[in-house]
Amino acid sequence: MGKFLLFVLLLVFHMRLMALQLDEERAMHLVFELKHAVNRAVHAAAQQTDPHLLSMGIRAIDEARAEAVFHEYLQANLHLDGTGRPAPGSPLREPVDVVAFDVINADRSFPCRYRNEEHQLDVTFYGPGVVAVIRAEYPRTYRFIGPVRWTVKGAAELLAGG
């Protein structure tokens, strides 16, 4: 009987460790995936040159188009629907919140230091650019780890030559 009890206890302990390891490992890979999705989205947004201002020789970002393209690329990379909720095939379970989206446009003087105290973001821009911060929650498989919420930040500049 003693051996049986020991076996069951060992089983529970082992399963717990295994579940913890599995979740932590998945979480680590997922945070990279989120970061790359944000990077690609701000990168695409920062390439939206304003054609009207460009014809006057000013390289500036079309803010409305930048925001639309940012959402489009974030949704495509994380498989979200139009409202930020996960669609089938998404690695997430909870909706993604875009908590900050700012365009640093050509009317500033560069280098421009962008600061956001709320999200502890500090970026120096040498040209027009885009910053964005999203919040996402890790979809836990087991309840052994506490809820994991990430704030993922990204910034990109308008590329030279564009």
């Binding site: 295994m18 599995l22 690609r40 990168h43 695409a44 390439q47 495509a76």
Partner: protein, 143 residues
Amino acid sequence: MKQILVFILFSSILCWMMFAPVYRHVAILRQALLQKEADYLLEVGASGRYGYIDANMIDESRRRLESRGFDPALLEYDVGATDGTDAANPERPVPRGTGIRLVISYPYGNLFVLDRLIGLEPVPGEARMSAGGVKMSEYVPGM
């Protein structure tokens, strides 16, 4: 008789307990390797120098993944542009403003076959894990 039954039950649980986490770890790792490879191909392919992901790049990528233990024949690459054109043609790179989409997939194979030991229905072998992304091309013609 009872002891034999208990032995069979416990040994299968023990076997599953020891090896199932290893195979789950392999599945996560393969998925992560596919994702890293997709990130790398997109980063290079969407850069201002290329603007495409052609068959050569895919061959090199297959070799890189082969050195990580993948079977190159089972890897599937799906490359396309967001406007529906072909993104694998080096003669006609995807211009700036259009995205390049890439999905790499690989079958799970019999990674979860051990789950049968404790009565779980394993993930079917033909099911595929996939990784990918969309990145806007930086290619500007004539630069």
